[in-house]
Structure formats: C-alpha cells, structure tokens
C-alpha cells in the first residue's frame, strides 16, 4: 500500500487533514475533496467507456455508407442527451485534472479554495456555452418545430 500512497499524494493529503484538524469547517473541506475525487474517478471511467465505443464506432471511417448511417443515428434525440452528458464529464474531469496537476507540480495547497471555485466557475461556463447547441437542438425539435 505504501507504493500506492506515493502514487496518489492527494489521498495522502486528505488523510493527514483528518488527523490534524477536526473542526466543522475542516471536515466540510475534507468532504468537498472526497466528492471531487470520487467525481474525478467516475468521470474518468465514463470517458474510458466512451473512448472504447468511440474508436469501435469509428471503424465506419473506412466506409462512406456506414459512416453516414452512424452519424444519422447519432442525431437522434437520445444521443443529444448523451452528447451533453459527455461534455459535462469532459469539462469536469479536465478542470479538476488541471487542479490536481497544479497542486502536484507547483506545490499549490489542495485546500486552495479559490482555485477550486474558480475552476468550478470555468467548468460551469464551458458546460453552459458548449452544451447550449445540444440542448437547443432538443428544445427546438420537441417544442419549437
């Protein structure tokens, strides 16, 4: 287990925190960190799942008929929802991953609340701006036309 701790300094940091300070405020921070870590793990796994399906589907690149049929399928309403969820996973994983890298390489504190919430806001903007077309397409399809 020692090796694993060395591989994941983040988790180590969190344990230390629990040991050194148990005030209410501190515990809240631990839970935010815990949640951020779980969400990072889940979004990472979801992205691996997507990547497998994506590369498998892209075999269609070698055949015009197959590729056009595939893209037509991806324009069905259900895939627009999937597209949006994919963006959520990518945006969160990318911004939180960036936060981890900054902490590890630049020695920033994992308790950097400012960094956490700034990147949180950036993530929200990416999701809103990037997700707008998919959501708009759905609204347009069901309610406007």
């Amino acid at each position: 287990m020692a090796v694993e701790t060395a591989e994941r300094p983040e988790a180590h940091e969190v344990t230390q925190e629990v040991q050194t300070d148990t005030s209410r405020f501190q515990r809240y921070r631990v839970r935010t960190g815990m949640f951020a870590w779980m969400a990072h793990r889940l979004s990472g796994l979801a992205l691996v799942g997507y990547l497998v399906v994506h590369i498998w589907g892209l075999r269609a690149l070698t055949s015009p008929e197959a590729f056009n049929a595939l893209i037509a399928k991806y324009h069905a309403p259900i895939y627009k929802v999937g597209e949006f969820l994919l963006l959520v996973a990518v945006a969160y994983h990318a911004m939180n991953g960036l936060r981890i890298v900054l902490i590890d390489f630049l020695g920033w504190s994992p308790n950097q609340k400012k960094l956490f919430w700034t990147l949180g806001a950036v993530t929200a903007v990416i999701i809103a701006v990037g997700g707008y077309p998919s959501i708009y397409a759905l609204v347009d399809h069901y309610f406007l036309s």
Binding site: V3, E4, A6, E7, R8, R41, G44, L45, L47, V48, L51, V52, I55, W56, L58, R59, A60, L61, T62, S63, P64, E65, F67, N68, A69, I71, A72, K73, H75, A76, P77, K80, E83, V90, A94, G97, L98, I100, V101, D104, F105, G130, P133, S134, Y136, A137, L138, D140, H141
Partner: protein, 160 residues
C-alpha cells in the same frame, strides 16, 4: 526498479492529462464549432435516419474539393453533402490530410495511454490479490492495444 517505473508512469499520467486539454479543445472545435460542421451539434434527426443538413459553407467547401459524381458517399441523392464528405475535407485533403491523420494518431495514443493507465489505477485500488491485479492489467492493456490497432487502421485508411 518497479517503483521507479511507477513514478515515471505517474509523472507521464499528469503530462498526458495536461496535453489532453489541448487535444480535446481542438477535437471539439473541429467536430462541433467549425462553421463547416455546425450541424453536428445543431440538428436533431428522427427515426427515419435522414442525414443532417450542413450549412452552405460546408456545401461549398466540399464542392470545391470533390466534384459531385466522382466520389461515392460524399453527396446525397439531392446533391447536399453528407457527414462523410465533410469529414473527408480533412482526412482526404491532398495537402493537409497527413497533418490531420497525424493529429488523430497522436490524440489516439495519448488518450489511450491516459485512460487505460487511469483505469489500471482504479482496478488495483479495488482488486486485492496480486493474481487478480495481473489479470486485470493484462486484459485492460490488451484491450487498449486492440483499440490502438483498430483506431490506427481506420484513421490511416480513411479517404485513401
């Protein structure tokens, strides 16, 4: 020795992650926001599976590069361009195809390394015995290798 290679992989994982930010931004721009491909995000097509309609910029760009009738699958019966025609603007370009294929290959390798190394981190966290870890590791990296070969083949042969 084992620890050293683990440290290198840990370091590489952070590097590939950072690199993926740039790769993914480019990928999303190209797939969704370039004026020629805007329909990818902007239309819903229903069960009959009609192909999505592309903006005029896409139509003009495809016509400028591939004469109608000369290539199969780039145009619909009514003369509008297909998704395949639009993607081939990059992957069958006489000059820049090499660059786009190169970009995709780089992306493919980096994404697979980052994703499957991460997957292995998760697996070794939950699998307790060494035998199980070994099996999980072998299976997952085999899958990554298969995907690498499939991905390389698709993107290299597409349009050529």
């Amino acid at each position: 020795m084992a620890n050293k290679s683990k440290a290198i992989n840990w370091f590489l994982h952070r590097i590939t992650g950072t690199f993926l930010v740039f790769l993914l931004i480019t990928h999303f721009w190209v797939q969704h926001y370039d004026s020629q491909v805007a329909s990818i995000s902007k239309t819903v097509v229903t069960q009959e599976q009609t192909t999505p309609e592309y903006p005029n910029e896409a139509q003009e760009a495809v016509e400028a590069r591939f004469a109608p009738g000369e290539v199969d699958g780039y145009y619909n019966e009514d003369g509008s361009v297909t998704p395949y025609g639009v993607v081939m603007l990059r992957l069958a370009d006489p000059v820049y195809a090499v660059l786009w294929k190169g970009f995709n290959i780089l992306f493919l390798i980096v994404a697979l390394h980052h994703g499957f190394y991460g997957l292995n981190n998760v697996l070794t966290d939950y699998i307790r015995n060494d035998m199980g870890k070994m099996v999980a590791k072998t299976l997952s990296w085999s899958l990554a290798l298969v995907l690498l070969v499939i991905g390389l083949y698709s993107v290299i042969t597409a349009g050529w």
